[in-house]
């Protein structure tokens, strides 16, 4: 068990390392650096910057040092909470991101909860009532969830709600609460706006998980021990939930950890379509404007958040499922 935790922790640390390196690469990839854009800005304003001045500035900012040294310094600043300055907004990155990180986390976690809470019962239902109307409905939703990317679903939803109800969906807050400080009313407002985008984000995960659950449970229900249990007088519910469902849950353990990265990825595009105040729209504008410190910071935060979430769900599963503890 301890070995398992240690292995998980090591892997998570390694993953965070890889993500930070990739974020740094993304910051450094576009041609030119801060000084080049500074010079361009000065020249646009009519001023000039000599080569010597530029070199001095580069030296001062440490941009003339080898990449790995710059990476180390960048990491050092990150650990002290300094994410650099957004070139576009001329404010510290942390200020620009602000609340948006928390809305992203809330949205992703809600979607993850939906995946769990809806997929398992639906999967069990469609296995137990195989070929019933409900099963066909689930199968249909399953195919939609697999085939339609979230952002298209969001687009269709926008259009449908506009045509049918003449209402604008989108956003996470009513206009009255948009810039209001946090209060009970604002939280309630958020809670009312949250389910729809979260469901859109969750639907592909729900579809996949539901299909796996259905297939596993069908395999399990055909086994003789289920008949034996029924013959010995166990009630139908008990004979279903006590053994077959638990066995059918097994393959989930290895796949559920991957649904969070998936949801976080999807949230970016869905947020843009539905105009949600998450880091998604910010990331796209930052990337389009080549505001790399902001973009790199967002990518890093999203990555770390995902790794932490996955780690937490792994540990939770270990606590729930004794087999992992024994294998570890």
């Amino acid at each position: 068990m301890i070995a398992y935790i240690v292995r998980r922790l090591l892997l998570a640390t390694l993953t965070v390392g890889v993500i930070s390196a990739l974020s740094f690469v993304i910051i450094k990839l576009p041609p030119g650096d801060y000084v080049t854009s500074y010079i361009a800005e000065m020249e646009a304003g009519g001023g000039t910057v000599s080569q010597a001045e530029a070199d001095a500035l580069r030296h001062q900012l440490g941009l003339d040092q080898p990449l790995y040294v710059q990476y180390g310094k960048w990491m050092g600043r990150l650990l002290r909470g300094d994410f650099g300055v957004s070139l576009e907004y001329r404010r510290p990155v942390v200020d620009v991101i602000g609340d948006r990180l928390w809305t992203t986390i809330t949205l992703s976690l809600t979607a993850l909860c939906f995946t769990w809470v809806l997929a398992l019962p639906l999967g069990i239902y469609s296995a137990v009532r195989q070929y019933s109307i409900g099963d066909y409905v689930c199968t249909f939703i399953g195919f939609i969830g697999v085939a339609v990317p979230g952002f298209l679903l969001a687009l269709v939803l926008l259009y449908a709600s506009f045509v049918l109800f003449n209402a604008k969906v989108g956003g996470l807050f009513s206009p009255a609460y948009l810039d209001a400080p946090w209060s009970a009313g604002r939280v309630w407002d958020l809670a009312r706006h949250l389910p729809l985008p979260a469901l859109i984000l969750a639907i592909s995960g729900i579809a996949q998980t539901m299909r796996i659950m259905r297939a596993n449970l069908l395999d399990e229900l055909r086994k003789p021990y289920v008949t034996t249990a029924r013959a010995k007088g166990l009630s139908a519910t008990r004979a279903l939930l006590k053994y077959p469902v638990r066995v059918a849950l097994n393959p989930f353990v290895s796949t559920v950890g991957y649904s969070l990265p998936y949801i976080v990825s999807g949230s970016i595009i869905v947020s843009i379509v539905l105009n949600l105040p998450t880091v998604g729209p910010l990331l796209v504008t930052a990337l389009l404007a080549q505001d790399m410190f902001l973009a790199g910071a967002i990518i890093l935060m999203l990555g770390v958040m995902t790794v932490v979430g996955t780690l937490a769900s792994d540990l939770l599963l270990m606590w729930v499922d004794p087999r992992i503890r024994l294998e570890g």
């Binding site: 890889v18 993304i26 990839l29 952002f151 595009i269």
Partner: protein, 375 residues
């Protein structure tokens, strides 16, 4: 007695047929039973015909813009003219609404434009070589650009159907190239991992785990955004392909590794090893043929993810850039509620994305069932 013997004979005949059939024949028989997969195979074949002959199926120059034709709604095609089958469309005339300043279009009921097959239109090179100017359809008496709007036009007055045909070419091939790349990565790394248990396997498995636990879209967005603005359309195309192929390889590698591990235990592999066959010979001569069908199925199932990735990146403006055409680029026009509500036909590329992705999923399902015809 006679009936019994006949019945015996028929059963023996069927059994003979199955026992002498080749592996591929068995698979084909199994595949045929999956109706949805067959239909999907037809649909995908159709889409690839469009890929080959996009310029032929398009009837307007996809880049010919004209503000006079901005946002024309899809035009109804009338099939019967005075009782006879003679498809035609009415001419469309536009004017600006003096109150809303929007262009409104009315059908001119007095001017009928018959639709012609193999009509002359904008010049192009068939299959990239033969100079040609015939198109599948066109109208008599006017340029197709000014008269035929099967799916309507976009803001700049470019015909959506024709643009969609060209976009299909890009989106359907980008998935293929990307999947081929990730297949190479997946087979080599998955194969290594399955063939050398121990350190190599552990390292590759950990790398896969790390990649899978990173939210991919932000990362690939970052990489895509770092492409210089000055790059040509072709370079961007290949850069995007490479970027999205890094998404798909981990799944393929897992499939290949699983197959390798299962086959390592088989007697014929041990036999080949004992007979002194070299490692490459064992892999490529004995093992690969026996899981080729599984790889084909897994590849088909990986394609939709590639198509969706490209569409998402281009939709955000970080993938292919205009004047390049792809489904995602076309969907950029449908990004906000205002345009979607006023001109819903701009969403039609979404139908193509959904159809293609569904078809690949069904086809992959059918292939996966067929890959193991003994089950």
């Amino acid at each position: 007695m006679a009936t019994v013997r006949e019945w015996d004979g028929a059963a023996a005949g069927a059994e003979d047929r199955a026992s002498v059939a080749t592996q591929w024949q068995l698979m084909w028989w199994r595949f045929r039973r999956h109706r949805l997969a067959l239909v999907s195979a037809g649909l995908i074949a159709g889409l690839y015909v469009v890929v080959l002959g996009a310029d032929f199926v398009a009837y307007s120059d996809p880049l010919a813009s004209n503000a006079q034709r901005s946002l024309i709604p899809p035009q109804p095609i009338h099939l019967f003219d005075r009782g006879a089958f003679r498809p035609f469309v009415y001419a469309v005339t536009g004017a600006r609404d003096p109150n809303t300043f929007q262009r409104v279009y009315v059908q001119d009921r007095n001017t009928k434009r018959p639709i012609r097959l193999f009509a002359r239109g904008f010049p192009y090179r068939l299959f990239g070589v033969i100079p040609f100017d015939r198109h599948l359809i066109g109208v008599a008496g006017a340029d197709a650009e000014d008269a035929l709007f099967v799916l309507g036009t976009d803001v700049q007055g470019r015909d959506l159907w024709s643009r969609l045909m060209y976009a299909t070419r890009t989106s359907m091939t980008i998935g293929l190239v990307a999947v081929a790349l990730s297949l190479c990565l997946g087979v080599v790394l998955g194969g290594l991992s399955g063939f050398y248990p121990g350190l190599v396997d552990t390292v590759i498995q950990r790398v896969i785990e790390i990649i899978r636990s990173i939210p991919t879209i932000p990362l690939w967005m970052g990489l895509a955004a770092a492409m210089p603005q000055t790059w040509s359309v072709t370079r961007v195309y290949f850069a995007i392909t490479i970027i999205i192929s890094f998404i798909g390889w981990t799944d393929l590698a897992r499939v290949v590794r699983g197959r390798f591990l299962a086959l390592r235990q088989e007697e014929f592999v041990t036999a080949a090893e004992v007979a002194g066959a070299s490692v490459p010979r064992i892999i490529f001569r004995h093992m690969v043929p026996s899981f080729l069908s599984h790889i084909i199925a897994a590849t088909t199932l990986a394609l939709p993810a590639m198509i969706i990735s490209e569409t998402s990146l281009s939709f955000l403006g970080l993938g292919l850039r205009p004047p390049a055409l792809s489904w995602g680029v076309l969907l950029q026009n449908a990004q906000n509620i205002e345009s979607v509500a006023l001109s819903p036909w701009l969403m039609s590329p979404a139908a193509f994305v959904i159809l293609a992705v569904l078809a690949f999923n069904f086809l992959g399902d059918g292939l996966r069932d067929a890959a193991d015809p003994y089950g």
